[in-house]
Symmetry: C2
Subunit: 163 residues, 2 copies
Amino acid sequence: MPTLSNYTYDEITIGQTATYSKRVEERDVLLFAAVSGDVNPVHLDADFAAGTQFGERIAHGMLTGAIISAALAMELPGPGTVYLGQSLRFRLPVKIGDTVTVELEVVEKKDRRQFVTLQCRARNQHGDEVASGSADVMAPRDKLEIERPAAPRASVEPSASAG
Amino acid sequence: MPTLSNYTYDEITIGQTATYSKRVEERDVLLFAAVSGDVNPVHLDADFAAGTQFGERIAHGMLTGAIISAALAMELPGPGTVYLGQSLRFRLPVKIGDTVTVELEVVEKKDRRQFVTLQCRARNQHGDEVASGSADVMAPRDKLEIERPAAPRASVEPSASAG
């Protein structure tokens, strides 16, 4: 049975790394539009997007932010992490079908409040950096190893009125 | 017919403001878990969440980031905006049923590359600040007024194996 575990503050070391990958599918872009409310046609309408500087539909920038946040919550430090802050620079568009891989590296620990700073880089399948930034978290005090919850089952379809 | 329009760089003034609200429903938390891959039980499992410092299920922090990104993309500057960067401080948890209202204010314009910086504050229905930060965007050069696309139709249910 798959489990989900964390690194406690005391276990975390400067220079520690983790990675987390997600392929961005058509459905992810539709789901992100539904959950954020950002229904801009550059994300949803292929004909419109063809006329933009991007030439094709692109994922929402903050979808990469969501993937970075999942890397922190699922991998390093993992469950029990309290998210304090995030900076992001969006460097290249993510296109449908791209695989985004987040690389995390611990760069600072502040013992007094168990704060940890992690450098975050997101790359596409060609190795190009699509986003980067820095995350501030409060790391878990207690070790946790739990059954890994299955993802909610989502389905989505474009609105009939699109186009 | 509802339309979606933008403010071009030339139309944008320092001090200009906009707001954007979204009520965070159970389904939004499930959708965000599905799209990000963050299936931590503090978001999905009421029994688990009751034993945490939050006492109940909370929304993913970056769901508020997604709502802020939608405010920029839908309201100010609106369609045609290129997202360059975002900083975020997560100040209070967002709970299921909370209404998040994003307040944007233009604080800087850089003519050479049409960059605009906006201060971003997200508050809950009690007026408490849940997140704040700063967004850097490239504002649209061209005026756009288009039919507002309908949101994709999403449905989601918890995984049967949860709990």
